[in-house]
Symmetry: C2
Subunit: 287 residues, 2 copies
Amino acid sequence: MTTAAEPVQASEFDRGTAVRAREGRASVYDAELDGGWRIGGGINGGLLLALVGNALRAELGRDGGHADPLSVSAYYLSAGRPGPAEIRTETVRRGRSVSTGAASLLQTAEDGSPVERLRVLASYGDLSAAEGDVRTSAVPPEMPPPDQCISTEHAPPDFLTQADLLRRLDLRLDPACVGWALGEPSGIGRIQGWLRLADGREPDPLMLLLAVDALPPVTFDLGLMGWTPTLELTAHVRARPVPGWLRVVHSTRNLAGGFLEEDAEVWDESGRLVAQSRQLAAVPRTG
Amino acid sequence: MTTAAEPVQASEFDRGTAVRAREGRASVYDAELDGGWRIGGGINGGLLLALVGNALRAELGRDGGHADPLSVSAYYLSAGRPGPAEIRTETVRRGRSVSTGAASLLQTAEDGSPVERLRVLASYGDLSAAEGDVRTSAVPPEMPPPDQCISTEHAPPDFLTQADLLRRLDLRLDPACVGWALGEPSGIGRIQGWLRLADGREPDPLMLLLAVDALPPVTFDLGLMGWTPTLELTAHVRARPVPGWLRVVHSTRNLAGGFLEEDAEVWDESGRLVAQSRQLAAVPRTG
């Protein structure tokens, strides 16, 4: 049994989110967390979201079910490590136009005990059935074209050594939002840029789950340069993106009491708002 | 065993969200859905969120655990009906500063089979440990004082007959946002007003879970007067509210493909942003 609806592709993203249905264990999938998706102390949270999203796509999409993520909520419990992982899924409800599932991503600790990395709830549907009426009042962010933005190859080397992830992305940050790299954060709480996968793999609904958590933390723009662990992240996929660049905006308005919300908007090259997300993250202790 | 940390109160909200630990069944709670919280075809989604939030508070808060909701994500599966309900909870992870739980609210169908109403993931902590540093750039909404706003007692009678909920709230809508009641929606996608419980019960973190889903749907302001079923709602409680009025703002920017996001912000009488939420809802079919 294959678990993906599409032919196997050679892209780094497809390999990094691949799942194999475990023989003899219904609704359990095996995967491998690849260290190439590391950022800071663990595997990037957006990649984990896309990986679990792929397992839920296999689970909820089989037998003519629902294969497109509409809403995915993840609670992050511990940092993912390179190595084998197991995804246990559950079909919570199969509906006519929307199906809901739950999932848990686990790895094995050194002592052999299971350690849960994230717990997920999600609703899936059919994004191609959802075209037509668009009354958005949101407008795409204005920023210079990609070739006038700051590529991550110019990031400080000690940052890059902890950010394998960045080598798999073609990320061009708006120069107006990178003062923090020079020790002059704007204090506004906004980071935006152009994003695509470095190997040319085009965006699709699963890749948007990576895109909402791929930029540097918005706290950098507030002068807080530490690590911001995510407690919870919910992503809404609102349309199937067209091929090409994505524009991603991260912003926060309320850093208080040790936590901040980080909102992401993802726009495709046609100018459509294709994903929205919000996460609750812990404020870095230093900075 | 009692499940609430505070003395039993006589308020409608406390009665509506009361849970009893089931004897002999660890982590299972019984509750009664009260028809007085009905809106449209079912029990109000915010009240269900607060009810499950109270069960998780009992579960995660016992033995010196974490009793304040920080983030609560609910996936709505079917409409709650007046009558008995069961809440099954699970402690996913008990941490030093944050604990994570899962819960499921079930009722019994006429044929005796269990029907799941909502599935929830949540993180709890201690909001009193989270004072101090506040760098919010969000500003409270401007609106006339409560006595110059529109009370729901002036709502159309055929609307009130389907909205028992409104009798339990003291809700005063900004006159600038109620054109829809006169057949002249603004088209902006924003509804805001003052909110408190009609019986004088003061706001607390649990009550904020009701507040984020208590106003009329923001689609009314877009001229879509039908029912907007919630697929998913995530609420972040960002501070313990002071006593008094809450200001609540509902807004949407992206109605497309049959869905819309509805954002809520809740401000307390001290002018602090105490809760933020976003839901993904289905666009009404008529209107």
